[in-house]
């Protein structure tokens, strides 16, 4: 089956990211396809390239990157939710006259329309919220 995940919880604040990652790993191991993880609400913080957790804690941002590298899962971040919260890629950073950027590939800033598309493409869309 084709799956999509909607993640709405910030990393290290709630269990939502952990639960979503566990579920993602398990569904892939069962032979399903994880098309995309869409980050919305405070879930957009999962995409911060500047996350620096202590070494003895799971690195959630790296774990998301691993899903993309190992399985081709798209990592899409709602642009409206992200920009408000200070999460910008290089292009948006330049557009807003900022000096740094906080999102980089494989995370992509995208519109909510992509979430609607995802809901239409996949067999199951599962939400993980804080």
């Amino acid at each position: 089956m084709r799956y999509g995940l909607l993640v709405q919880g910030a990393p290290y604040s709630s269990q939502a990211s952990h639960s979503a990652l566990r579920f993602a790993t398990a569904l892939i191991a069962r032979g399903h396809q994880l098309e995309c993880v869409f980050f919305y609400h405070d879930g957009v913080y999962n995409a911060s390239r500047l996350a620096a957790p202590p070494q003895d804690e799971p690195h959630l941002v790296d774990a998301w990157r691993g899903l993309n590298a190992g399985h081709g899962t798209q990592l899409q971040v709602c642009i409206a939710a992200a920009l408000r919260r200070g999460l910008l890629d290089e292009r948006e950073s330049a557009r807003h006259g900022k000096t740094g950027h906080s999102i980089e590939p494989p995370f992509e800033l995208t519109g909510l329309g992509q979430l609607v598309d995802l809901g239409n493409q996949v067999d199951r869309l599962v939400t993980f919220a804080p």
């Binding site: 919305y40 609400h41 329309g113 609607v116 239409n120 939400t127 919220a129």
Partner: protein
């Protein structure tokens, strides 16, 4: 209160949070608007504290936060016309169904279950 078979649709957005206290309601409404703009048939269910979105006379916040009342007025322009309100929450907050910012059909639990079953995708905010 309606307990008849609820409408079909592509997406049911369940709004469970009150305005101003968090961004859940606003971001849920944004998802509904975008889905409708993409041609989806969208229904909205205001449930629990979410029915506070329907209180008339809301204002922007003290710092100029927009709130969501103005967004509700835009829904019709996007052809979102199916509005449901959790009847038990209306009771709990002593809200009259005919005194809501948007005319919404009060629904009981059984009808909510039908709404969930009859929409292909269900998102909760």
């Amino acid at each position: 209160m309606s307990s008849s078979l609820a409408a079909n649709g592509d997406m049911l957005v369940i709004l469970r949070h009150a305005p101003h206290g968090s961004s859940w309601l606003r971001e849920g409404l944004d998802a509904a608007l975008v889905a409708a703009a993409f041609g989806q048939r969208v229904s909205l269910l205001f449930q629990g504290d979410g029915i506070m979105a329907l209180v008339p006379g809301q204002e922007p916040g003290a710092l100029g936060q927009k709130g969501t009342a103005a967004t509700l007025d835009m829904l019709a322009m996007y052809d979102i016309e199916s509005f449901y309100a959790d009847a038990s929450a209306l009771d709990r907050f002593d809200m009259a169904p005919d005194d809501l910012q948007l005319p919404s059909l009060p629904v009981d639990g059984a009808t909510i279950a039908q709404l969930i079953a009859s929409h292909r995708l269900v998102l909760t905010f």
